[in-house]
Symmetry: C2
Subunit: 166 residues, 2 copies
């Protein structure tokens, strides 16, 4: 029997302590979307991220709402953040940080985009950017770009796909 104590139960984060020593963060699962232009550039969004005190460049992404499927969440986020609907295929899924957090991420590829805009959440402000995946990865290694793990996974998938087309 494991004794679990809830330390905090908030808006997006729940913090638990298991057996008096294991700190576990509960967080909703999330989605991110890889969308490439015909020239092989990746659709990114630049936004202020308070947690890391930086403007990050990330793939369109967001949390899965209660009762929503990962694919429906990806479709909604793509419409909210870049005003597009598309055909979606799951590329991969993984835990962002399984050492202490249960958040799981689903990375989708988007094809055949068409205009379809939904309003952004009121506390979000984003700028759309097109960037070559290799430029993003070079900027990350050099420290000039701040980004997230699903964005890196999407960029690497894009390079794989582009390499296969040559």
């Amino acid at each position: 029997m494991s004794a679990t104590k809830t330390i905090y139960d908030g808006h997006i984060v729940k913090l638990e302590l298991e057996e008096g020593k294991w700190e576990i963060v509960r967080h909703a699962d999330a989605v991110a979307i890889l969308l490439l232009s015909e020239g092989g550039e990746m659709k990114l969004v630049r936004q202020r991220r308070r947690a890391v005190d930086a403007d990050t460049l990330e793939a369109p992404a967001g949390l899965i709402d209660e009762g929503e499927t990962p694919e429906a969440a990806a479709r909604r986020e793509l419409q909210e953040e870049v005003g597009l609907d598309a055909d979606l295929t799951l590329l991969t899924r993984f835990y962002t940080s399984p050492g202490f957090c249960d958040e799981q991420l689903y990375v989708f590829e988007a094809k055949n985009p068409r205009e379809s805009r939904l309003p952004l959440d009121e506390d979000e402000e984003i700028e759309e950017v097109w960037m070559a995946p290799q430029t993003l990865l070079d900027g990350l290694r050099g420290g000039t770009v701040q980004s997230s793990s699903p964005t890196v996974a999407a960029a690497l998938y894009a390079l794989q796909r582009l390499a296969g087309q040559q």
Copy 2:
């Protein structure tokens, strides 16, 4: 001026509330290491992860200790988890979940491995596995494998490198 309240300050996690509404998890930065065999298989470690209630397959990885460089942490973790030292090159770095957490991950590639073992932390128990990167990615998509974001980034880098060698 932003008012920040500390809700919890624990062993590996610190939880803050900014301006009464932004939940931010503070967590040490971490490293993960991509190590390939001559046949192109990836060195993975299987371990129990309480936060996700699963046995995960992950690249050798761990937290950066206070005052330690990312490269020194990667060298130490490789010696602790798989008993090898190696030449290390930074592949990429990124935030695991910048929407709410400041953890940054550094992914290194390891070459020219040689035996050099350091003892594991006493609360760690791991099993070493070799696996083809594509098998790992297929298992993730199908749901039969649980893994982490740095592991996925490393697997995709491995595929890029292997594709370049053909």
